[in-house]
């Protein structure tokens, strides 16, 4: 995958929703805001890295690198959690981080491709499954002739058909186009 900056940020948003909901429920149940705060820290740090760091060092991101980046982010989140004193124990923070990461990665691997057929092809961006450059449709000439302009006069053939002209002798004796009343030769 070759994610764009927008693709990274959009994907980060999409994958954090489920962990954030679960962390919010735990925070409400335990009356401890630390759970949802830690997810918030993880998210803000992630968006900062996605927009200001990763695009400059990673162009094509192979799957193994995703786990490596997760380890790096874990270290940064761990440090930030201590600096900001989010109020969770080390064990709680580690469990929450890796639980959230597993949920996020499952969302990324299994759910997003089912929601959007072209999510991977679109560099992680949520675009309509369509062509990236809109086509410049060309008009189709469906008839074998160029339609006359309203202002143009009768064409030369119409002028040749004009009754103003003397009718050539040969035209006078031609049969009618209809064959309905044609008499079969043997009966003629």
């Amino acid at each position: 995958m070759c994610p764009t900056t927008l693709g990274r940020v959009q994907t980060r948003w999409a994958t954090i929703i489920l962990p954030a909901v679960i962390a919010a429920i735990i925070s409400i149940a335990t009356h401890d805001a630390g759970w949802i705060v830690l997810i918030g820290v993880y998210f803000i740090l992630g968006v900062a890295l996605d927009s200001a760091f990763y695009p400059f060092i990673i162009r094509w991101q192979p799957p193994w690198l995703t786990f490596t980046l997760a380890v790096g982010e874990f270290i940064l989140v761990y440090i930030l959690a201590h600096v900001l004193k989010v109020g969770l124990t080390n064990v709680e923070a580690v469990l929450l981080y890796w639980g959230a990461w597993i949920l996020a990665i499952w969302t990324k691997v299994a759910i997003l491709p089912l929601i959007s057929l072209s999510w991977i092809e679109n560099a992680g961006e949520f675009r309509q499954t369509g062509w990236s450059v809109p086509p410049d449709y060309q008009p189709l000439a469906l008839t074998a002739f160029t339609p006359p302009m309203e202002s143009s006069g009768p064409p030369p053939l119409a002028r040749a058909f004009s009754s103003v002209n003397e009718l050539p002798q040969g035209l006078r004796s031609l049969p009618s186009p209809s064959a309905v009343h044609e008499v079969p030769t043997p009966l003629g």
Binding site: T4, R127, D136, Q138, L142
Partner: protein, 449 residues
Amino acid sequence: MPADYPRDSVLAVAGDGFGSLLVHATARYLGFENREITVFGPSPNPVGTYQQFAHNLGQTVLRSESESHFLAPDWPTFAQIDAWSRRSLAPVWRSTRRKYNPGVAEILTEAQVVQRRMGWDQSRVPLRVGWVQREMTPTPHFVLYDEEANFIGRAKHVMLAPGHGPLSFPPVLAKARDDPALADRIVQAYQPKRYVADGRYIVLGAGIASVNEWANILDAGGSVLALTRNPQPETQDLNVPRCLFESLGIDTYLSLPFEQRVRFLGEVLKGSRPDRKQWIDRIEQGEREGRFAAAIGEISAVQAGPAGLRVHITNPRGQDPGWLDVTGVTAGTGFNKSVLTIPLLRRLIEFYDVPVADGRIKLQTNCGVPGLDRPESRLCCMGLIANNVIPHGDTIAGLKFIARRFVSDVARAERLKQRPFTSRVSLQVSMGRDVAQALRRIPPTQQLA
């Protein structure tokens, strides 16, 4: 059981290969019914042509990676299905390092399962499309005729998926093949072949097909002279640089004028090959045994000789190797890429005055045929003929890219009520399960990367 005809449908595919299966599978995944889709083509097997070519090449694994397979969405990947089937994490582990390539037997097995589950054959009319007529009333649509000019159906949207043109030989070899005494000794990598021990063979080209032939000849105990016009190409795992496989790369590619795109394709498609350890081992061993060598030059003359063929090789950059006596020549030069070699396209080009340059249709940026394509009634191309828009258009990934967008266009034009998410999940899980079960019945293909 194939479908009856004439048959009216919402979308039709002119062609019965890989592309037709991907369009059909994507359409079914999004919510179209079988009665709304028609595949036109005589083959009851959408992977039959590929299977024959792969067999002739002696190819055992695809060059593509784990996402390149026949399920419409990107989950599950083929490595995940393979892991599920074999109860082993090895395919997923290889896939995370981009060292997993689906085996030919495995991918063809999957294609059979997808074909059966999606009812591809029930949508198929067993006739080749010979003519497509644009009609504008009462609503824009296409009328389809077979090669005998018989009416075979109508469709609002048509995908042209005719596959490759005929096999291509350099002119000197093409002329020599007209001589019955020489014809059997000059073969294409994609044709059936038989190599013998102690045979002396020249293999033209250095792309993946040629490298396969080097290995096949060495395995048979023969000797190989690998002949290329230029120094050997760089090794590269995929047909085109990775990011060109995605919209970001395709955006950049499409921003180039047509002529620059064609030039760029000439560069990237000049014959790259994947760097696979097992091939390298075999070739190095052949080199040590004095049975493999590479040379730069071109065959400038061919005649009958005591070994079967006597060929003259010219090297404009250095010393000529001169006349050589060989058992045979294998050309890894692929297919004729000109759209004019495909009868249906040639007729459309000539009748509708479709713009062509360098043997390629100047397609719109949505792979539409200029002049005939409309948003409410699409006429689209896929495969090699579309690689001036989608550079990897003739790979599974490229076919999938085009199929997804074409079917999505049709779904929007027809205001399709799309399959709900829960149904998508259950379809994918059950398809993955069926493919995994089918894979269990075949021996795993050895990975080469």
